[in-house]
Amino acid sequence: MTVDRATDAPRAEDSAVWAEGVHKAYRAGATVTPVLCGVDLAVRRGECVFLAGPSGSGKTTLLSILGCILSADRGRVRVADEELAGLDEPRRAALRRHRIGFVFQRFHLIRGLSVLDNVRVPLVLRAAPPDAARRRALDLLDAVGLADMARSHPRNLSAGQCQRVAIARALVADPPVILADEPTASLDAVSGQETMELFHRLTAQDGKTAVVVTHDPRIFRYADRVFHLDGGRIVRTEQQPSDALACTAGV
């Protein structure tokens, strides 16, 4: 079911993530590859939206712009009540550190660190008191069901477990916005479902705003809305039925 964006779109101030007329092109020497050509997007606080689209359509690029990792060439972006235009790199790093949690396709855990230490990294970067950080990290590990693996190392974990550690890491510093790039793409169907279930439960229960890139239609039901990206624009927005989860969960 397609909804008219013009009437549905929340205003900038009500949005946790908001973009308007975002353009982005990659330049390598003389060749210019336009990727985003005027993306408008608004995500309400506490909402969980998916970004879908064919490979190469610019989903990761858009997510990086929303995550303050990449700058747009043109257009306005607001994330967690902060206008991104004109922020210098230290301010952008601070924004990533304090307001955004990331979950990556390939987990990107730190090899030398135990599961617990990995989860603790964002708190260390925020110079949180060590004891409190430890307790908070253990709580999160408990929430993702890995409390008894705290001392293990990522190399001894399955892919699904690694992604759960990554989810714990994204949430540990309690950022209002969670961004995930294909969090289930490296997982098999079953652990993908489980991981998404967990992700959805944890972000929903704390009222986090989540933007998830995926092209796996089987997990669309976890989204409140799905944005379809193609040709550098959002071509379609799907409102998921509010009972979608309840229905499928009941099956």
């Binding site: 995550g67 990792i69 790199e89 790093a93 601070a94 990533r96 990331f102 030398g112 970067l125």
Partner: protein
Amino acid sequence: MWSLAVHTLIADRGKLLTALVGVIFSIVLVNVQGGLFVGLIRKAGLLVDQGEADIWVGHKRMHNVDFARDVPRRWVHRIRTVPGVRRAEPYLVGFADMTLPSGGFEQVLIVGVDRVSLLGGAWNLTRGSAEAILQTDGVILDECESEKLEHPRMGDVRELNGRRARIVAMSNGIMGFLVTPYVFTTYERAAEYIGKEPDACSYFLVQTEPGADVAQVCAGIRQVAPRLEAFSRNEYSRISIDYWMTRTGLGISFGAATLLGLLVGMIMVAQTLYALVLDRLGEFGTLKAIGATERQVYSILLIQAFIMALVGSILGLGIVSGIQYFYSTPQAPIMVPWGLSLGSCVLVLAICLVSSLLPYYRIRKLDPMMVLQS
């Protein structure tokens, strides 16, 4: 940040070990090389260091303890009048040839000491006693020179410049900077062996009264004997050492060899530190993506370099003292001054810190976007 740095450092044991080996190698090399050098060059002042005299008085231009110029022996009386002088005795140093059982000969350095006080006599005796030189034709040789002198034994009789000499005691470890072995005997007999006038003498060894100001006593001696020079023990030892340092360029060649070794070790360290960072570029990218500032990333690198330098230095110095304990001999003494140890550690630390910042550019350029694209 420390735990982050430490844990990621020990995660890659192979590389960590290579870097540590580099640090240890550098520390050991510098300290052992330097220790050998100091041990060697210090031999140049051996007689002065061990001679029990507080002040060495000799020719106005005296510049090396082993190469002495004659001064009139009778001036010892003037020196004895200087306030603060408890005792002053003549001392003779000069070359002579010793005939060997095989028919060959070897040049030796005769040291003649006052027969009453034995001031400046042989030390560290393993056989016989210092007083044994009072016996007829008595001389003392060192065991370490045994090879050169064709294994002399107690009681053996040799010829020194055609005169009889009988070995009445032996010391261990009296080896000077020159290749000529020391032979200790009484002043009078030394004068005969060397062929000196009875009134000629090389030095006056002075012991001061307890509590006397050595510099002041030296000044007093210069005053009563204006044609003599007087140096404290440390001064004359240093002057004797400088003689070789400045005339042979020994310091430069030893120093260059040591520095070269240090360079090799440090390149090893720098390279492994660099490789360590390149290896984990992805992880640094992750840290940047989740909001680590550049400063935080560098502090991780600096902490790691610091740990590496610290651990490597401690292990290295441990090995150095082991080598010193087992391999230091009178022929090749290894004397590591603490200043050298400290200096080498500081240098290694500095180089580690600098080389950990070598990948600065790579990290600076690091695009956190890579995390999302791999």
